[in-house]
């Protein structure tokens, strides 16, 4: 029960130290995630630099409105997440539950738009290895763009799904059992860090995918 939870684990002197350390651990993990997605953007960068025309041509088929709606959803979800943490710090339980629900909902909306976008891509014949058709004059390097697109958005969706899972775990387990208190809400802060990072990834994918082929 909660009195149990409020005692730090054996290797920590205080709860504060335990919470601090958990956050630092998440920051270290986010550094590895930065390099993970960074490596993918690196590959993208190399090819966009090498095949500017092919990439611009291919990126014209990316569905701009889907990407734009999604970036709005994610930025908003970061706001609701941070408001949930504020609510936890103040001990406002109702607000905490509301903002967490809102966060999960926005995340699910994102995935919904994403699935719809994949459908549009399929209809457009831009799915490599499934139904990709090289448009006359577009050059074969355009397929590289679409490989990048599916790997990047797919991985991002996986991360976001994990994020939604974590938020629901907080909501249905830790909060419901009263384990998130104004005295110790570090687990929620850790999830918040992860959530905002997934948002950050999209901030960089957005111009890379949706804005490359305009103008």
């Amino acid at each position: 029960m909660s009195s149990d939870v409020l005692r730090p684990e054996i290797q920590y002197a205080t709860l504060a130290q335990q919470g601090d350390t958990a956050q630092l651990g998440m920051w270290v993990f986010l550094a590895t995630e930065t390099l993970f997605f960074g490596a993918l953007l690196f590959a993208y960068f190399i090819y966009r630099m090498s095949y500017p025309h092919e990439f611009a041509e291919a990126a014209k088929d990316a569905v701009l409105w889907c990407g734009s709606v999604n970036i709005g959803l994610l930025i908003t979800s970061s706001l609701t997440m941070v408001l949930a943490i504020n609510a936890a710090a103040d001990g406002r339980r109702r607000a905490l539950v509301f903002w967490l629900c809102a966060t999960a909902f926005l995340g699910i909306c994102f995935l919904g738009v994403k699935v719809w976008e994949y459908r549009l891509d399929y209809v457009d014949h831009v799915v490599p290895a499934v139904n990709f058709i090289v448009k006359p004059g577009a050059g074969s390097a355009g397929e590289l763009f679409w490989v990048f697109y599916f790997v990047a958005t797919g991985l991002h969706a996986v991360h976001l799904t994990i994020g939604i899972g974590l938020v629901l775990y907080m909501l249905l387990w830790r909060v419901r059992r009263g384990e998130i208190t104004p005295l110790y809400y570090a687990p929620l802060e850790v999830v918040g860090l992860y959530w905002s990072f997934v948002d950050t990834v999209w901030l960089f994918l957005f111009p890379a995918i949706y804005l490359a082929g305009r103008s």
Binding site: Q11, E33, L40, A43, L144, V151
Partner: protein, 545 residues
């Protein structure tokens, strides 16, 4: 503290000794032992492959079918690199002793530590699946497009195994970094950390910053293999060298992932058995961190003949010479640490001195490979094979065995048979040199790596190498037997049989579940040995005569 009563002998291993208590444990010491079991299994799989390779190459005609030979050396590389060498020292000795050496009761995230072991075994199973179902014949470097457009589907499984393995590496490294930052005992300043902890810290930094790039790289490889179109596909304008850039961005630092903890172990051993403070402690720590950082600037020296620009090759060659400087500092400091010591040649010390010599040879030949014009000639020949085995087997494995013997009494509470251990250490050294030195000559003669056959005039050197390998195999099998024997029949160890100074020796042998009854307070830096009167001062400030 040294007068802790060892009666009744309740320790981390005997307390609640059920299968479930091991499989669900959060104790870093138990997890270290479980890692030890896993990597030993993989060491023998990789070792069996190595034995097959040397048996095969004893004659030009060979023993195996070419297709089998190609699978065997690929498996040898993949298993030894990712499933033995990289986790070897950090996940076992590091897991066991880093918390004890900094005076902590456990790692920062015990559950993540346990998860790391499960993920490691999962990745091992995926790899074994690829091995049993059909094998992979691309070499452990998985160069595209051979590994994607021109290979069978088990490359996908092997790539996923490496990908999953990366999670285990990251979880372990993350734990170490956070633990060393946050859980040091009072008084354990950064300038008082034992060099082994410094080694583990620097290696964890490298693991965290390099592994994600490999993860992305193998993921893209798996995608390309699965879909038959991908980012490295030259028929779509993709660049096969991009795979190599990202692969070596990880895999060159990975060499230092293997060697940095070994350097830490050897520093402990040399100080303890030479009974004097390590020469140039701060120089050693700076050198380790310098190696960790510069190791990221040198990756393309694996690609000097691969078709990168001449300009890039010159830059990376220069960087490679820079990384040699801190390595040289370390070698000189170890040697100087013997000066005016009181040296005893116990088994761990033989391993440690062997390490210094073999690492020096490996490092110097590394310089030859860094020299652009020489690399053009010997790249992808047996010269390279000999070079990196000198670093990884002569270096890392020697240090691993040295550390294992040194800490064996602490881990198990038993002493190993000293004379037999010295004999094994000596045998390993001789067998190793006989195996790999001829390969330098073969390399300059022009024998390419990964050839299942060769012209008959090169047989002499290959036979020598194979003969050495059989001696080496005995050298590695012996400890398995006598260490196993010592578990039951070995003499009981006192808390500090080597009269060493680290905090880990303040506990009983084997240590209790949470390491320390009370958190120790650190008063001085490590290695306060005095060769003149044989006294030493443990890190809690107590002088022992």
């Amino acid at each position: 503290m040294s007068s802790i009563a060892v009666d009744p002998p309740r320790n981390y291993a005997s307390e609640e000794n059920t299968i479930a208590s091991w499989l669900l444990t959060r104790d870093h010491k138990r997890i270290a032992l479980m890692f030890f079991a896993s990597i030993t299994a993989f060491f023998f799989i990789g070792g069996a492959a190595a034995t097959l390779i040397r048996l095969h190459l004893a004659t030009p005609a060979g023993l195996l079918q070419p297709s089998v030979y190609n699978r065997v050396f690929t498996m040898h590389g993949v298993v030894m690199v990712w499933f033995f060498l990289i986790p070897s020292i950090p996940a076992t000795l590091g897991n066991f002793f880093v918390p004890m050496m900094i005076g902590a009761h456990d790692l920062a995230f015990p559950r993540i530590n346990l998860a790391s072991w499960y993920v490691f075994n999962l990745s091992g199973l995926v790899l074994l699946y690829a091995l049993v179902m059909g094998g992979v014949d691309t070499g452990w470097t998985f160069y595209t497009p051979l590994s994607t457009i021109y290979a069978n589907g088990y490359v996908f499984a092997a790539a996923m195994a490496v990908f999953i393995n990366g999670f285990s590496t990251i979880m372990t490294a993350l734990n170490f970094v956070v633990t060393i930052h946050r859980l040091r005992a009072p008084g354990m300043l950064w300038t008082r950390l034992p060099l082994f902890v410094w080694g583990i810290y620097s290696v964890s930094v490298v693991m965290l910053l390099a592994t994600p790039v490999l993860a992305m790289d193998t993921l893209l490889l798996a995608v390309e293999q699965f879909l038959q179109v991908g980012l490295f596909d030259p028929s779509h304008g993709g660049d096969p060298l991009l795979w190599q850039h990202m692969f070596w961005f990880y895999s060159h630092p990975a060499v230092y992932i293997m060697i940095l903890p070994a350097m830490g172990v050897v520093s402990e051993l040399i100080a303890c058995y030479a009974r004097r403070p390590i020469f140039g402690y701060s120089g050693m720590t700076i050198a380790m961190m310098a190696i960790a950082v510069i190791s990221f600037f040198v990756w393309a020296h694996h690609m000097f003949v691969a078709g990168i620009s001449i300009y890039a090759a010159v830059v990376f060659s220069l960087m490679t010479f820079f990384v040699a400087v801190p390595s040289a500092i370390k070698v000189f400091n170890w040697t100087a640490s013997l000066h005016k010591g009181s040296i005893s040649f116990d088994a761990p010390m033989i391993y440690a001195l062997g390490f210094v010599l073999l690492f020096t040879i490996g490092g110097l030949t590394g310089l030859m490979l860094a020299t652009l014009a020489v690399d053009v000639d010997v790249h992808d020949t047996y010269f390279v094979i000999a070079h990196f085995h000198y670093i990884m087997v002569g270096g890392t494995v020697s240090a691993f065995f040295g550390g294992l013997h040194y800490w064996w009494p602490k881990m198990t509470g038993r002493l190993y048979p000293e004379m037999l251990a010295r004999f094994a250490a000596f045998l390993t050294f001789v067998g190793f040199n006989l195996t790999f030195f001829p390969q330098f000559i073969l390399g300059y003669l022009g024998m390419p790596r990964r050839y299942y056959t060769y012209p008959p005039e090169w047989q002499v050197w290959n036979v020598l190498s194979s003969a050495g390998a059989s001696i080496l195999a005995v050298g590695y099998l012996l400890p398995l037997f006598y260490l196993g024997w010592s578990l039951i029949w070995g003499r009981h160890a006192s808390p500090n049989p080597w009269r060493a100074t680290g905090l880990e020796w303040l506990t009983s042998s084997p240590p209790p579940t949470h390491n320390f009854e009370r958190t120790p307070v650190v008063a001085i830096g490590p290695y306060s040995y005095d060769p003149e009167d044989g006294s030493y001062t443990t890190q809690d400030g107590v002088r022992h005569v």
